[in-house]
């Protein structure tokens, strides 16, 4: 195995494009090293991105959003008060990835590129309308987060392409987001179902909403049907019931060792309802 430490994303992309065997990018490493230990992946080339300047920084964008470096670990996001104030749902999703120790290493970009439909940080990013910058041998482009995953363990990134930044849009006034997941224990599990809700209010009424569901399809789902049930409402009981029903309808899960299909459908509805309430309260400025 060759271990590379490029100091720019264009160099990283060039090295990646030039590899012929198995290649992996290394940010936090909390997935890649597990796969190597299990013998699932034996990379010929490992490209460590942490030597690229700026990858460990969280910076405000000129538009009023946030640009998060691809090597920023969860624990740093959780400690960034201004980011947490803007996007508590995004941060709580990331902070649910693994243990305290894993939080010391794991990153948004890594969680996204691992391609798991159960990735805890991804629904929050999608609901927030986050984008990623993809750098390849021929330059960079920005794409919405939901366009990255292609299925379990796969992404739409081409050979030689690497995510070089994650960008969150401006929070805007009267907004709130939330991510909830269901796991059998209190910690250390993979989400059986995850749900993120991001919404914005005018007065008591929801004027914008995005709802993303995790672990109920081959990729994290952005459900317009769910969002529609609450836009224009004050999140009254009827709206919550419609949201739950829409989430159940949107969920297309499988039965596996972590949960049955029926269970996942039920819990998708429950979590959508609960997450929407918290996001609504946050948008109202209520502590939740």
């Amino acid at each position: 195995m060759r271990y590379h430490t490029p100091t720019s994303f264009s160099d990283a992309a060039k090295i990646a494009a030039g590899t012929s065997g198995t290649m992996r990018f290394l940010a936090g490493g909390t997935d890649v090293l597990v796969q190597m230990r299990a013998g699932m992946v034996q990379p010929d080339d490992l490209i460590d991105l942490k030597h690229i300047p700026g990858v460990d920084r969280i910076e405000p964008t000129p538009e009023g959003g946030w640009r998060i470096g691809i090597a920023v670990p969860g624990i740093v996001m959780g400690g960034h008060a201004a980011l947490v104030a803007d996007w508590p749902g995004v941060v709580e999703g990331m902070n649910l990835v693994g243990s305290t120790q894993v939080q010391g290493r794991a990153t948004l970009a890594g969680n996204l590129c691992n391609g798991s439909p159960a990735a805890d940080s991804v629904p929050g990013l999608i609901a927030a309308g986050a984008t990623v910058t993809v750098t390849g041998p021929n330059g960079s482009r920005d794409i919405p987060v939901e366009q990255v995953p292609a299925g379990p363990g796969r992404t739409h990134l081409a050979k030689g392409e690497v995510i070089s930044a994650v960008t969150l849009p401006p929070r805007g006034k009267n907004g709130g987001d939330c991510y909830l997941r269901f796991i059998p224990r209190t910690e250390m599990d993979i989400a059986v179902v995850g749900c993120a809700v991001n919404l914005r209010l005018e007065g008591d009424r929801i004027v914008e909403a995005r709802v993303a569901l995790g672990a109920v399809a081959p990729t994290v789902l952005l459900s317009e049907a769910c969002a529609k049930t609450i836009i224009g409402t004050t999140l009254d009981d009827a709206a919550l019931a419609a949201l739950a029903k829409a989430a159940e309808g949107a969920a297309k899960p499988i039965s596996d060792k972590r949960g049955t299909k029926e269970f996942r459908i039920d819990v998708a509805g429950v979590l959508a309802r609960r997450a929407a309430k918290i996001a609504y309260d946050r948008a109202k400025g209520l502590k939740a």
């Binding site: 269901f182 059998p184 224990r185 209190t186 910690e187 250390m188 060792k257 949960g259």
Partner: protein
């Protein structure tokens, strides 16, 4: 719960001093299995079957052996032939013969100059399999049409006409069961199931072995019993036990799972092939879960008759247990006697079969068989208490076994503490806390026989009056502290002046492992006897010095004293004085005791648990937990509490989330801690304990084993609490959220 017939007023017993190995363990100095290294050492890796059942057609190691740094490969062809019985089973499990019998079954092993290289080499060993039909579920394995996975496993006990996978059958009972059921007001029958679980010790198995051409070898290994390792490894490799010296490391948990061999003999076989270079082999976590010894899975029919006042008139069980692909490993022989051990019931019938299936060879796990049996019987009792609206503790007090009861499995109980645990549970504040919505309370009792076993201990007095104790039972949970306390109490010297060492196989007679809750009981009992022997010798030395009869000398407070005024007026002679001149008074002073220890005294406990269930997701939260158990005498109460709390935590895991999940392909789907879900710190509340002390007359200080019983009641107690919270009864463990939610929905419909 002090009793008048018990000697109290101990100076040291019942105190909580620091454990002797504590400093090493908080500084990282303690050496566990994987921490040993030797000059010239090689590292090994194992090739394992990815199939649940397959004929091994061909093993080609040529590519592995061609790698620079690869020194040896062993397959079954390198092991001796002609073994029979359990020795053959052990050999078959160490390396597969004609067939791989479960996912993870070892097929070959390789030694190389680094661990990474050994793993590379293992991947290059090509094994050709012919995949065969498999079966992993206990009921499916004995259903008509299930593939017979090994011919001729049935022993003499199996009745004609049973499936070829049935390996053993047993039955016993007493009284007229049918008459008992006829006399009952209600008779209920249900089937309960428990999935296989793993001990889940955090330290993976590890060993360093060295074996020369001359058939002499050594091994450093993490184990609960190094004489077992010696005997079993010697048998598998065809060498003599005396030529294998086994030294135990500190052990990172065992819970029964480290009482046998898995990969240990491979270190020796590889070493011999590599010219006698030492070989280290450390299992990965997935190897531990796939290929060591989980517990059996069980399917259990229970029928009980009860009168409206709670009197149990008769009970009947039929247990089916699967302990992997080898006979003799499912704990039917323990589960059946444990089933009704907490009760005094006039008519009982017990029946069980052991079935083999394409799963790893089961090993002991904390009170083997008892948790499953308790889940079935205690759940049934709880269901009937709820139906008749009876208090579960009162019903157990009414029917519970007591001193003089003839146990469900034969012997008469002499001095037991079941009712004391029930009374203490009833009186505890936890039993009176008011429950909120979606909350429920469960109660269950549990039992373990305890164990004595082969024990050999030596104590040597030092020149400065300190004492060194050599024991053969590895210390997993603080037994060196407890044994040190008992020896210091006996000799009348400070605890700090006693050092207890776990010594290698060359230093003592044969010792059984630390299993069955025997270490503090049996090694402690033998250590006290050894101390008494040394005391008698020291009295003789003092008598000789004083020129009086040895009978006229007594030992107290760490010194020889003239026994009464007639013996003469001599100042006490301390252990330090006697030790300081022992060379000139007759030579070294020691005591030694060896015994197959009896009198171990049965163990009973009662647990009370409150849970809250999320009615929308089926998720269970344990709100509060109480363990009440009879310790006989708590030598070091902190480590007694630790056993209670640890047992309860394992039982909670078994009840809620832990299980072996096999796919349709017969492969284990959850061989990592991510998916084999043992309780994490945030899953549990504080675990309250009450130590009941009904001293065991079979031990000089009244000790009963305390390790096992605690894992037993949580299984039924949690299911009972969930039933209380939701109205839905889970009869198949674990009580996973999908299962609980489905039961809640079915209950509503």
């Amino acid at each position: 719960m002090a009793r008048d017939d018990v000697k109290t007023g101990y100076k040291l017993i019942g105190t909580r001093p620091n454990r002797p190995d504590g400093l090493d363990k908080v500084t990282g100095r303690a050496r566990y299995g994987a921490d040993f290294s030797l000059p010239g050492m090689l590292h090994a890796a194992v090739v394992r079957s990815p199939h649940a059942h397959a004929r091994i057609v061909k093993i080609d190691a040529s590519k592995a052996l061609a790698l620079d740094g690869v020194k040896a490969v062993v397959t079954r062809a390198d092991l001796p032939t002609g073994l029979t019985g359990e020795d053959l089973n052990l050999q078959d499990n160490t390396l597969a013969g004609e067939k791989a019998l479960y996912d993870g079954h070892a097929v070959a092993a390789v030694a190389a100059t680094s661990a990474l290289l050994a793993q590379d080499a293992a991947r290059l060993i090509e094994v050709t399999y012919e995949v065969l039909p498999h079966v992993t579920d206990v009921d499916a394995a004995m259903a008509p049409g299930a593939p017979v996975i090994r011919e001729g496993v049935a022993d003499y006990s199996v009745p004609e006409g049973m499936h070829g996978n049935v390996a053993r059958y047993m039955e016993f009972g007493h009284g007229d069961v049918e008459a008992g059921f006829a006399a009952a007001d209600i008779v209920r029958a249900h089937t309960y199931k428990t999935e296989a679980t793993h001990q889940g010790y955090i330290e993976p198995h590890a060993a360093v072995g060295q074996l020369g051409e001359d058939g002499r070898g050594e091994m450093w290994v993490c184990t609960q019993g190094h004489w077992y390792i010696r005997r079993m490894s010697a048998a598998v490799l065809g060498i003599e036990a005396a030529n294998l010296r086994v030294t135990p490391s500190e052990i990172g948990g065992g819970f029964g799972g480290k009482t046998t061999i898995f990969m240990e003999p491979l270190t020796l076989a590889l070493s011999k092939k590599a010219g006698g270079r030492p070989v280290k082999l450390v299992m990965s976590r997935s190897e531990v879960l796939r290929a060591t010894g989980p517990t059996a899975s069980a399917s259990m029919d229970v029928k009980i008759g009860m009168k409206k006042d709670g009197t149990i008139t008769a009970g009947q069980v039929y247990f089916r247990m699967q302990g992997g692909a080898f006979p003799g490993m499912s704990p039917i022989g323990e589960a059946l006697p444990c089933a009704f051990a907490c009760y005094d019931i006039p008519a009982l019938k017990h029946e069980a079969v052991e079935v083999i299936a394409n799963r790893p060879k089961a090993a002991a796990y904390r009170a083997p068989g008892s948790p499953m049996a308790a889940f079935a019987v205690e759940s049934m009792v709880d269901e009937m208490c709820r139906e008749l609206k009876l208090d579960p503790i009162e019903v157990r007090l009414k029917n519970g076994a007591t001193n003089g009861s003839k146990s469900s499995y034969g012997p008469v109980y002499t001095m037991i503490g079941l009712k004391e645990t029930l009374e203490a549970a009833k009186a505890h504040p936890n039993y009176k806390v008011a429950l909120g919505p979606n909350q429920g309370r469960g109660v269950a009792s549990g039992f373990w026989f305890n164990h004595g076993g082969e024990t050999s201990v030596t104590l040597a007095v030092g020149e400065d009056g300190t004492a060194t104790v050599m024991i053969g039972t590895p210390d997993i949970g603080g037994s060196r502290a407890s044994i040190g306390l008992m020896v210091a109490e006996t000799l009348g010297i400070p605890y700090e002046n006693v050092r207890v060492n776990v010594v290698e196989t060359g230093a003592l007679g044969v010792n059984e492992p630390t299993h069955g809750s025997r270490a503090t009981f049996a090694s402690g009992k033998a250590a006290v006897e050894a101390a008494r022997q040394a005391m008698a010798e020291m009295c003789r030395r003092a008598a000789a010095d004083w020129g009086i009869d040895a009978d006229a000398v007594e030992w107290k407070d760490g010194a020889a004293h003239p026994a009464g005024p007639n013996a003469g007026k001599f100042p006490p002679m301390s252990i330090g004085e006697i030790g300081g001149k022992m060379g000139s008074t007759g030579g070294p002073i020691s005591g030694h005791h060896e015994v197959t220890a009896g009198g171990y005294g049965a163990s009973f406990g009662t647990h009370v648990v409150d849970v809250e269930v999320d009615p929308e997701t089926g998720r269970t939260t344990v709100l509060r937990y109480l363990v009440v158990q009879d310790a006989g005498t708590a030598i070091h109460p902190a480590y007694v509490e630790g056993q209670y709390q640890g047992g309860a935590a394992q039982g909670i895991g078994w009840a809620l989330n832990e299980e072996y999940v096999y796919g349709a392909d017969g492969r284990l789907q959850n061989p990592i801690f991510l998916d084999y879900r043992i309780p994490v710190a945030s899953d549990l509340p504080m675990i309250d304990t009450v130590i009941v002390e009904v001293p065991n007359p079979g031990h000089p200080y009244g000790v009963r084993g305390v390790g096992e019983t605690g894992i037993t009641p949580p299984l039924p107690a949690i299911a009972a609490a969930i039933a209380g919270a939701t109205g839905a009864r889970i009869r198949s463990l674990p009580c996973t959220p999908p299962k609980v939610l489905a039961a809640i929905k079915a209950n509503r419909a």
